[in-house]
Amino acid sequence: MIKPVIAMLFLVALELTSYQEKIIARQGNVSFFSYTSVENIKAENNQVLSIIDLENSKIAVSMLMNAFVFEKALMREHFNESYIESDIYPKATFEGEIIDFNPLQEGSQTKMVKGVFTMRGISKELEIKTKIEKLNDKYILSGVFEAVVNDYDIKIPPLLAGNIAKTILVNFRFEYDPYEN
């Protein structure tokens, strides 16, 4: 009689600890830059969601393309309507794992994050060097990577081809808090 009770308690405890081992970011920042001789385009999204399971170092990121803010309203319109087609593909996602991540190490560590980035329904394997800072129960992940426009089947009219870089520089910074609900 006692054994199943203990087993149950153990399960409940396990459930509880694993629950607390998740950290989330609700206001993650992702920005991208396109540098050409014709013009520089910058856009920023401050509402990117992310969750990390500290137990297995799995990370998920999800952003709504519609939430990118541009310097000019027209750039935003082109981005959403012509290039990303955000009515058909509203989200970009990343799912992966932080390799050799030590969630207990205070201060800063630099790790590779390996995973799959999906945009416009096209998935690409990415490996991103990421700086991880830990202060008590808060974590900050930041880094830079490059995305090749051609990889995602983004059609740019020949007239504007000179305005948009072939490779887009993507910056990200996420601040995580313990997940409580």
């Binding site: 989330i24 609700r26 309203a73």
Partner: protein, 131 residues
């Protein structure tokens, strides 16, 4: 005579450049706080069609100004969650004394649905005063 012609064409060219700039390149951003709401709903009514993949309805919601009422279930910096299903990013940091459990009405731009956290997102939002 020739000089006049050059001058006129220069002025015309300048004018057309200005017109092109004003109409095509400068494109003003919307100011959501100044726009009237086109969708007025309780939080669950806004959430349901997104959750149930009713794209015919949700397509009409995206990028619209939504006025939504709900109960605050979490607050952090300038992000408020209503009834655990609507995530609201406010224009400015909170100035009013809002707390968990308060029922409020907000107005902002409907961004879309994110299945990672299972929330409908609204940005550029303001908290409307109580009626």
């Amino acid at each position: 005579m020739n000089k006049k012609r050059v001058l006129i064409s220069a002025v015309l060219l300048l004018l057309s450049l200005i017109i092109v700039y004003v109409f095509f390149l400068s494109g003003k951003h919307r100011v959501i706080a100044n726009e009237d709401a086109t969708i007025v709903l309780k939080s669950d009514k806004l959430y349901a069609p997104f959750k149930n993949n009713q794209s015919a309805i949700t397509a009409k919601y995206i990028d619209q100004v939504a006025q939504v009422q709900g109960l605050i279930t979490s607050i952090s910096k300038n992000t408020i969650e209503l009834d655990n299903i609507i995530q609201v990013d406010l224009n400015n940091d909170l100035k009013t004394n809002l707390e968990k459990g308060n029922v409020i009405t907000i107005k902002g731009r409907c961004v879309g649905y994110d299945d990672l956290f299972d929330v409908v997102k609204i940005d550029q939002a303001i908290v409307l005063p109580k009626e």
